[in-house]
């Protein structure tokens, strides 16, 4: 079954882009292909200078290291690791020697400097999502994906999380692609792309 059809999209470095669209429109599939979580069956795809079409699954995993950060709706922290260990893991996977220190600094930057040794179950939903943001940003990737980052949070907490996400992105200059149903959140981005039935139905700059 063809899920994404004729999508032609160029995202410049440093841009913030919101992906909108009803359920089943192909948002998740597009993000999965762009982030290398799934392989596109045809077409051309270059991410941060790497040709993703020719890479196999393990090469895609290696390509993600240090290049792509991902924030998920349900946080998906590793339950057996502390906040600091969670944040350090992707940098350790990428072979960074200062992973530990950078994890602590990033957690400090998202306001969780006092929660380094806490396990996910000891953190609130908002705190868990901050850890997830720190984990995505700490390796300083040029590209960050966020899938409904506030979907599991109340409005106030969600607002503060988005503030943290946008602030840290601005400070690192990364490209940010957010999947969301929230028009208000989409409006904070530079550009909004709306999908429908596997096609781009609109692509507009936010004024």
């Amino acid at each position: 079954m063809e899920i994404l059809r004729g999508i032609d999209l160029i995202v410049p470095q440093g841009e913030t882009l919101a992906l909108l669209g009803p359920s089943g429109s192909g948002k998740i599939s597009l993000m999965a292909v762009l982030s290398g979580l799934e392989r596109a069956s045809s077409g051309a795809l270059s991410v941060a200078g790497e040709d993703f079409i020719v890479l196999d699954e393990d090469a895609l995993a290696r390509a993600r290291r240090g290049r792509i950060g991902i924030v998920l709706q349900a946080f998906h922290l590793l339950p057996t690791m502390t906040a600091q260990e969670n944040v350090a893991t992707p940098m350790e996977l990428a072979g960074k020697g200062d992973a530990w220190e950078r994890a602590a600094a990033e957690l400090d930057a998202v306001g969780l400097g006092h929660r380094l040794t806490h396990y996910p179950t000891q953190l609130s939903g908002g705190e868990q999502q901050r850890v997830a943001i720190a984990r995505a940003i700490a390796p300083r990737p040029p590209l960050i994906f966020a899938d409904e980052p506030t979907g599991n949070l109340d409005h106030t907490t969600g607002e503060s999380i988005i503030d943290v996400l946008f602030t840290r992105r601005a400070e690192t200059g990364a490209t940010l692609i957010i999947i969301t149903h929230d028009e208000h959140l989409a409006a904070r981005c530079d550009r909004i792309v709306t999908l429908g039935d596997g096609l781009i139905v609109s692509d507009r700059k936010v004024g």
Binding site: E38, A61, T80
Partner: protein, 836 residues
């Protein structure tokens, strides 16, 4: 990712209490500790048997011969190699005015003991007792009711108890005795009138070598120097062949039990690792999102599982070593065994290696699957079914299997049995896997039952991700373990029951002088006129040659005895008779008539004839009290060995052997209700040189020994059952985890507790019923192998008890399944849904 990084992440992710990997830990612990204990124990016993060969034998070489002592030339021959210590062994009656007790008389000279020390109660050590005195085993003193300084009668002499034996160094090599030991000076049997021509005694002459001679060389030289003398030899390296055989057989059985426990544990390990990795799906997907490759995932989780396996195996080895002294102490009365902590590094490494290899074989497939968990699992509920990475698992599984087979075969005293067992286990696993597949298919194809509970239970068996295969394997092995245990136990019970004949004679009387038979009969008749007496002449002879007259085979020239021709080995009891012995049937040839005076004839057992290829008309030459005699085979007999009476492989015509000095052996059957005490005393006082053995207490003792062996076998087999229960629990717990979601949703939809329990009950009930038949076949098949092939007992299972145990096993399975689902039923749906 370098291994160091993988190790860091693995360590972080691994819960300090090994949560999720406990089934693996428990299974490995059980399997490895069983093997470590078995290995340590058998090597402790073997080491002791090997090291103490000289002490156990009481010399470097022992020459045994019946009904005579070695002559001057024979003694002179042995003396050229070192110190010689002659002795006698015979059955005798020790009496006091109150009681008569059969004893095993051991007459020794002043050189005894040449190795080790004879210790008496109180700790002092002695050699042979002075003339007129005796050392008594505690049992003999107890039955006679006497202690040091008191007197008792032996044959025609009165002896004083000089001490009670605490430790007899050569006890084990003496073998089974019908009575307790009494040690006396060498000349005592003769003075007591017990050693006369024809009486049934054995001389044992031991040599302690002065130089470094090889006992086997001396044995060969003596056989050559005195051909056809009918010697039995024992050497220091095989001081107690009976004990060695027992230890070897028991060790082999215990190793099989350990392997069975490990195979069962392997299933638990596979299930445990699978559940563990399934529960970590999200973590694995998260790591992949963060940039971990499939190889990284393999490294991280292989490290975790490897650590858990090492810890499980390590604790297992420690536990195995720690329980060895306890096991050794419980065996201490039967066998020489070091009761300290025994570290047989090789045995321990072997146990650990078995455990780790089994872990590798069973953990590799789920690990190979886990590396393929897709990262997208985090973002979408439904992801495409996983590829089965058989190729990745094939190498470690094949390597592990080869390693297990090599370890089992190289270290096994009976490689064929081990190989057969491993192949059998592999076939069983294959059969169960096939059955699991068939059940899934059948459940999918079965018409939808109207009852929603049964319908849901059937659906649970075949839906995607159903754990039916794992459950079938685990439940199948678990239930088979119960059946195995029951079949072994009831068969052993059956053998014990049968070993006690319904009608056994009340007394065996040995060494009745042949001229005193009438006196003997009238004495018995005076106590009980209706008593039945059977008396047969007894003598011992060794077969020197056999076969057709013109081409007889000399036994000494045989490299190996033909299979089943045990009667050709060493000296055997023989008799002569004018009539066919009671209970025997002539199957070929004719019996000689009364007063036969022609060519000397012999009748032999048909089984021996078949084994040694002997036919009617062939000849046999024997050595009887050192004299060669030949006889022609006149007929073949079928002997009922089950009857507890006088059964002889060789029965001669009277004119062949009756002129040799000999005594009679008799059985006495008393009518019901006649007490045995009076007759025993009268017989002992009238025939002081005869041994009167009361059968009742002997049978009770034999039964007690068999009971002990049965208990040991059962205790060992319980290890396999424990592993089976652990696997059952693990499988049920894993199945429960996969049911959580369904159960909660059904709860939300309004299912009652009773309905949910019925659903669990139906699913496990259907599986258990199907598996009951398979387990019955598997368990009894394996038990048959153990009983008939390993222990060479008869296959006498009690089917009603086996079925009852199987029923109990089924109830246990259902009980566990229901108990495991209870916490789920107590959970509040809303709360549980949030945590899903």
């Amino acid at each position: 990712m370098p291994w160091s990084t993988a190790w860091r992440i693995a360590r972080r992710d691994l819960n300090g209490r090994f949560q999720g990997l406990r089934l693996l830990l428990v299974c490995l612990f059980l399997g490895v500790s069983a093997l470590a204990a078995i290995g340590s124990l058998t090597s402790a016993i073997r080491g002791e048997l090997g090291q103490q060969g000289q002490v156990l034998l009481g010399g470097d070489l022992e020459v045994e011969v019946w009904q005579r002592a070695l002559n001057e030339e024979e003694l002179a021959f042995l003396e050229q190699y070192g110190t010689v210590s002659p002795g006698y062994r015979l059955q005798a009656m020790a009496t006091t005015p109150e009681v008569a007790v059969p004893v095993e008389l051991k007459a020794v000279d002043t050189n005894y003991p040449m190795y080790g020390a004879l210790t008496l109660d109180g700790g002092s050590t002695f050699g042979a007792p002075p003339p007129g005195q005796a050392f008594l085993a505690p049992g003999a003193a107890e039955r006679l009711g006497i202690g040091p300084g008191e007197k008792f009668t032996l044959g025609t002499v009165e002896l004083m108890v000089a001490g009670i034996i605490e430790d007899e160094p050569d006890r084990l090599s003496e073998g089974f005795a019908l009575g307790q030991t009494v040690i006396v000076a060498l000349d005592t049997p003769e003075r007591a009138g017990l050693v006369v021509p024809g009486s049934m005694f054995q001389s044992k002459t031991r040599v302690a070598f002065a130089g470094g001679d090889d006992p086997r060389d001396v044995q060969d030289a003596m056989e050559k120097a005195f051909p056809g003398s009918g010697y039995d030899f024992r050497t220091r390296d095989r001081a107690s062949p009976g004990a060695e055989r027992f230890v070897g057989r028991m060790g082999e059985f215990l190793t099989l039990v350990g392997l069975a426990a490990l195979v069962i544990a392997g299933i638990g390990i596979g299930g445990g690792v699978n559940s563990y990795l399934e529960a970590r799906r999200k973590s694995i997907a998260t790591l992949k999102i963060l940039g971990a490759t499939s190889g990284d995932i393999t490294r991280i989780y292989a490290l975790q599982i490897g650590i858990a396996a090492l810890v499980g195996a390590g604790i297992g080895v420690l536990a195995g070593v720690s329980v060895t002294p306890i096991l050794a102490r419980s065996l201490g009365e039967l066998l020489p065994v070091n009761t300290d902590l025994v570290f047989d590094l090789l045995a321990l490494l072997r146990a650990a290696a078995f455990g780790l290899l089994v872990a590798l074989v069973f953990a590799a497939p789920p690990l190979a699957r886990a590396r393929e968990f897709p990262a997208m699992a985090l973002m979408r509920a439904g992801v495409s079914p996983l590829r089965r990475e058989w190729r990745l698992a094939a190498l470690p599984v094949a390597g592990g299997l080869i390693g297990i087979a090599a370890l089992a075969l190289v270290g096994s005293p009976d490689p064929l049995l081990s190989a057969g067992f491993l192949a059998g286990a592999a076939v069983l696993l294959g059969v169960l896997a096939l059955l699991g597949w068939a059940i899934r298919k059948a459940a999918a194809k079965a018409p939808r039952p109207a009852n929603p509970i049964v319908r849901a239970a059937l659906a649970n068996m075949h839906r995607p991700g159903a754990a039916t295969g794992a459950l079938v394997t685990a439940l199948g092995f678990g239930l088979a373990a119960f059946v195995l245990l029951a079949a072994i136990q009831t068969s052993l019970d059956g053998n014990i029951q049968r070993s006690v004949p319904e009608r056994a004679p009340d007394f065996f009387v040995l060494d009745v002088p042949k001229g005193s038979l009438e006196e003997f009969r009238s004495l018995v008749a005076s106590v009980s006129p209706e008593a039945e007496i059977t008396a047969v002449p007894t003598m011992r002879a060794a077969v020197l040659a056999f076969g057709p007259e013109d081409s007889m085979q000399v036994v000494a020239e045989l490299e190996e005895l033909p299979e089943g021709a045990w009667a050709l080995n060493g000296e055997r009891g023989i008799t002569y008779s004018e009539t066919v012995p009671d209970g025997n049937v002539i199957v070929e040839g004719k019996w000689w008539g009364a007063n036969h005076s022609g060519e000397p004839l012999v009748s032999i057992d048909e089984d021996l004839a078949a084994a040694a290829d002997l036919k009617v008309g062939d000849m046999i030459t024997i050595s009887l009290l050192g004299v060669e005699r030949s006889a022609r085979i006149a007929n073949l007999r079928r002997i009922d060995w089950e009857s507890l009476g006088f059964n002889n492989v060789f029965v001669f015509s009277p004119n062949a052997v009756a002129d040799a000095p000999h005594n009679l052996a008799a059985t006495i059957d008393l009518p019901e209700g006649v007490g045995t005490g009076g007759l025993l005393r009268d017989l002992v006082s009238a025939f002081p040189s005869s041994s009167v053995i009361e059968v009742g207490p002997i049978l009770t003792e034999a039964r007690a020994i068999l009971d002990q062996v049965g208990l040991a076998i059962l205790a060992a087999a319980s290890v396999a059952v424990l592993a089976g229960i652990a696997v059952l629990l693990g499988a049920i717990a894993a199945a429960r985890a996969s049911r959580t979601y369904d159960t909660v949703i059904l709860r939300v939809l309004g299912a009652s507790t009773r309905q949910l329990l019925a659903l669990q009950f139906a699913e496990f009930g259907i599986l258990a019923l199907v598996l009951a038949g398979v387990s019955l076949l598997m368990g009894t098949g394996l038990a048959w192998l153990v009983i008939t092939q390993l222990f060479e007992f008869d296959w006498l299972p009690d089917w009603s008890r086996i079925l009852a145990v199987l029923g109990g096993g089924l109830v246990l399975v259902l009980g566990f399944a229901l108990a495991a689902s209870l916490p789920l039923l107590r959970a509040r749906p809303a709360q549980t849904l949030r945590s899903l």
